[in-house]
Symmetry: C2
Subunit: 340 residues, 2 copies
């Protein structure tokens, strides 16, 4: 009834054909005559046949799975990316293995490939230690790994990313449009590629709008976290003069900043406008709801998965087209307001 244990032999018997024909019907229908095809399909239906993955993988010398390497399973930012990845890989009959990079042993990661548990890997963690990455690349052919969101500048692996510079630029433009000229920026982790890109976008925009950057208002958050934002707020408060608007490198930073400001009687957006980056789920429920730059996380996931799949099946990208930039979107909410 549940079709448990039905093999291709059984289907062949029922359909009155050979196992080869059943196999072809299922994986290469074009090679099979219509009538035969129909008979096979009927037999499949009747027997409740399900292919045995292990046998298929063994024969095809593949793993049938993709490994997704996350920096931190607990960070809500990644959930939708995973959805995007899943939606693509599921339709290709690939399983999704997920692993948290924090605390993973080098050998463990490489092992996934050495013992044929994974055909490819999507790396969502730009902070993966150099040694690990190096050994990984040694073992894993180029066409079996892609970066998504974060990346390491000194590798040639394909990379799918948001337009971080453009997003930062949009954020500043939005603030300027509201009349702000005294604009600060809270950066992410030092050395992080996202931090750098967003800072560059910030600087470009400020230059373009002919606004001097006040270095007092350029604060090093240190990490993408609430606490970093709260810390930054305390630094702002100690200054002689506050900016009228602040662009934060991440939503978590922005929310931490706003909370801490509130604690000190500084109200957002009345006293200061604040804009974030990411548009994580909580952003639109935060009080005040957070104006932010939305990353299209689903699409990031879809593209990463698609790129990897194309690579795996040989339709690899040329080396120069290795970066795919995904557009971001300004989402206006309550945390930014016209300069009063």
């Amino acid at each position: 009834m549940s079709g448990k244990g039905t093999t291709i032999q059984e289907v062949a018997r029922v359909a009155g054909v050979s196992t080869a024909t059943v196999s072809r019907t299922l994986s290469n229908p074009d090679l099979v005559r219509d009538g035969t095809k129909k008979a096979v399909l009927a037999a499949v239906e009747k027997t409740g046949y399900r292919i045995n993955r292990a046998a298929q993988n063994l024969r095809k010398q593949q793993a049938g799975a993709i490994l997704v390497l996350l920096p931190d399973l607990g960070n809500p930012f990644f959930s939708q990316i995973l959805s995007g990845i899943e939606s693509v890989l599921t339709t290709s009959d690939l399983s999704v293995l997920i692993t948290d990079a924090s605390g993973i042993k080098q050998s463990q990661l490489v092992g996934y490939f050495q013992d044929t548990r994974a055909d490819g890997i999507i790396i969502l963690d730009g902070a993966i230690p150099h040694g690990v990455l190096k050994e990984l690349i040694e073992v894993v052919p180029d066409n079996r790994a892609v970066f998504a969101c974060e990346w390491k500048p000194d590798t040639k692996l394909p990379s799918i990313r948001s337009d971080n510079q453009g997003g930062a630029h949009q954020a500043v433009a939005h603030l300027v449009e509201l009349g702000h000229r005294k604009i600060g920026h809270v950066l992410g982790p030092r050395g992080n590629v996202l931090t750098k890109e967003r800072l560059t976008g910030f600087e470009r925009a400020m230059l373009e709008f002919d606004i001097d950057i006040n270095s007092n208002w350029l604060i090093d958050g240190g990490e993408f976290s609430l606490e970093a934002g709260a810390q930054a707020a305390r630094q702002f408060i100690e200054l002689d003069e506050l900016p009228t608007a602040i662009f934060c490198a991440a939503d978590l930073i922005a929310m931490g900043l706003i909370s801490e400001f509130a604690k000190h009687g500084i109200s957002v957006p009345n006293d200061v406008s604040v804009i974030g980056f990411d548009d994580i789920a909580i952003a639109y429920r935060f009080i005040p709801s957070l104006t932010t730059i939305r990353q299209n996380r689903i699409q990031l996931g879809v593209l990463a998965a698609t790129t990897l799949m194309n690579s795996l099946s040989g339709r690899s990208m040329p080396a120069e087209n290795n970066v795919q930039l995904v557009d971001v979107l300004l989402v206006e909410r309550e945390s930014t307001a016209p300069l009063s």
Copy 2:
């Protein structure tokens, strides 16, 4: 160098033994003489041999993977549970497949078992539709599924859960100890097992401390979310009298409540004490930091995985010992204060 493609045959050749002996050395060392063992191990080392998972799985008629079914990949509550699960399964050479229940098709889920992609399943979602669960149980033997955190009361599957009643009781006890007698409760989703258990714990404690429950202060949150909390706050505000302390069925609810209260000039903990449930990561960074009942999420994951593994290997639990309760812990922070 990377050992890619080395087979057991190669190892056998190098060690000067048969493939059977290599296999035994690796999976059943007791059956092999010490000297031979040493030679085999040396050959393994030398050749960089890694077992081929697909071949092993085919031969052993297994999938080598466990499926974890989440209600919502985006909910940060689940991350540490996954860590716990991973830590156990990784040591057993099992891969972890993760799937989001939202929007999953019934057939898809069942398919994981029918085509031997998963040996077992850990269900973290008590809200899984009845039909899906029913079909799943039809296909999946009893000993291959466990519930963790949430569960369905009308099934016999093993269940690992926090002591939800006890936690609610502790929450109330903590408030009473601070001098509060006017205590409210914001419930979770109607019909959810966690909601029911926590309400029961609340009621038990109130009875025990001889406090009448004011039904105006028993508010239906509707879901475990920030918005639910904000909504509840609005309902509280419309009442003639506010409680002096509120127990929320989840941290997200508590934070939403506090935010909305703040918006209306009601300060936590000065005007009202608030206590949550879960201790999600953001709780200790929230302003005010949130007093809450901590669920031992790692242990929930570890126990769920261990239970499933024991089941799979035949060391199944007797049917009457099907529920494992995990202790919770009161974490005192700033959102609760003595009654002034």
